[in-house]
Subunit: 402 residues, 2 copies
Amino acid sequence: MLFKFLVSYEDALKLILENVKPVEQREKVGIEELVGRVLAEDVQANIFVPPFDRAAMDGYAVKAEDTYGATSTKPKVLRLVGVLSAGKRADKVVGKGECVEVATGSPIPAGADAVVMLEFTEKVGEEVHVFKPVYPGANISPVGEDIRRGEIVLKDGEFLTPAKIGVLASLGRREAYVYRKPRIAIVPTGAEVKEPGSRLGEGEIYDVNSYTLISVLSQNGAIPVRFPPAPDVFDELGKLVKILVKEYDMVVFSGGSSVGEYDLLAQVVEKFGRILFHGVQIKPGKPTLFGLVDGKPIFGMPGYPTSCLSNAYLLLIPAVRKMARLPPKPKKVVKAKISQRVVLGSGRAQFLTVKIEGDKAIPVFKESGAITSMANADGYIFLPTNLDVLEAGEEVEVTLLE
Amino acid sequence: MLFKFLVSYEDALKLILENVKPVEQREKVGIEELVGRVLAEDVQANIFVPPFDRAAMDGYAVKAEDTYGATSTKPKVLRLVGVLSAGKRADKVVGKGECVEVATGSPIPAGADAVVMLEFTEKVGEEVHVFKPVYPGANISPVGEDIRRGEIVLKDGEFLTPAKIGVLASLGRREAYVYRKPRIAIVPTGAEVKEPGSRLGEGEIYDVNSYTLISVLSQNGAIPVRFPPAPDVFDELGKLVKILVKEYDMVVFSGGSSVGEYDLLAQVVEKFGRILFHGVQIKPGKPTLFGLVDGKPIFGMPGYPTSCLSNAYLLLIPAVRKMARLPPKPKKVVKAKISQRVVLGSGRAQFLTVKIEGDKAIPVFKESGAITSMANADGYIFLPTNLDVLEAGEEVEVTLLE
């Protein structure tokens, strides 16, 4: 198969990232659903956190100076004038020689400037014996210690982790604006490809690529929508592409295995838009197309299931995450020694699936069509273009498949 | 605060994992929603994959022996008797000296035993010139090459990656049985804690812990359900716990900050079930409770937001993932040098939040109550019990927060 716009893997990735635009639209989402989303607003604190001086320990709110000089044998004796629990209004006042019992989280009553921890006290009737002095401010979380009113606590574009959702909750936010997820149309190609659940006729096989792509895309912040198989007539395919780029953020053709199907999609993209590459120097996965129609990215993925999926990992995920404004996918990597010599085609990057046994990485690639070879792999080694051979026993980084 | 059932972090984790049971019930889920779930059936192939001998390349289906001796200057000449595209029935027969044009994916017609790639041929009228011999079987994916009918291709308990979903699709499966997600009740404690969105009265703060827990639990294969704040009366709390353990797989009290609240939950668990630990030698996060009521795990998390969240990472995630039958969470770890000396309390594990700058890990812990200290951290260092001090410049592993 001849490719007019053949590029290296590195250039393919560069072209993709230069031409994919992050989504601009935002949506309001409830706090229970925010984890893993990308914030689309600056969050300014409208309250102090904590909103008042709080007891950081169970004990007695006191005037610190009343405790100076206390020892385990010569306690200071204070008069208990009230009890405050968490969630209550601090309606007591602590005068000289007095104290108020407080629980962790309760407000500090007026007049008090420190909390003596329970374990350094003894209650004797209406009196409290204090066995250790405290300094002013001891065991108090002062108002605004964590967040000051007016402060920008989270910024537009931040990835929402559980802790950041905690920050939103601490300000009383029930919802927040986040960037909407990119919507991606998946269109199977190939007259032989049938939807799972249907009955296979002679010469037909089930559609694998649409479902591996749906899985990968939904794991990476997108909303994939599967369409019926693409028409194999130029005008109809052209019409479909023009409609899909209006409604979706990206269109992914989930693999045409023969030259004819490829040519057709390439012709359509060339006529209605622009081909950025067609053919990548990578093994497997060479027959991959990327272009723009009306500014929207179009992917033509390879037809072989393993090639389609490996290029989903290497090319599609970076595209989708940029679109979704997600940080690059953190890789889960283990180090291992390659079990056998691997010779690479010159000038071609390689995606090599492996099983891990002990400290060994064992190549498990069967052939491009075999989805099981990838299903049974623990991970993959990505070998860049500038490498010719990997000697047996060399240390490699295996990215775990998940 | 005194703890009757104080344990080390290592023992706490062991007790949790010994007492949490994986869910048994399964549910049927559509193939588009299967990624990240855990298979609850053995999947046996009911068809061969591919279901027939397929062309692995575009070219001509031939009898291999007809091509023997072909060279670039002395081609073998075959008679073209038909064209077969993918998805069509192989209704042609290839006789001696004949060939049929095939596309990648099309069935191999009867009589043919190899495919000559398009680039080694030339079509001249109704004749095809073959410039290179092929061996029998060349460029053919034989029936069952990837999967044989009757084979068990996926096993009960397997974690469903995109490639494994591809295997299900290749067999025509529209859905599969997976283990249902554990349902986890989250109950806030503390009279001062109010739901975000409501108006704070004096002495009140917003509930942070329920929302960080909801986020962590939903990221780890569970369905969290938040309840109104727990009653602070023994009988009512007991009644609530008895109801919740009937309906849910686990009950998590999302943090009571004062001794009183702790005692109450501990008393209830002790009366209606069994306390397995109450207090963990870890900083922060000591006031953590774990027990069983009617066989269902009950967690009492610390009240301080950072302690609650750090123990969610260290104790709750392993529990929930075991329950959901998920593999241990793969950690995303980076190596860095600690920027300052850290002295650890003897016999206490420590969870230390850090920011990463260049190759340095800089501790950012403010105080247990400050959710912002965790929200602004890049990750954490977990320091086990048997460590007393970390010298400045020592290499540490930072687990990234996500």
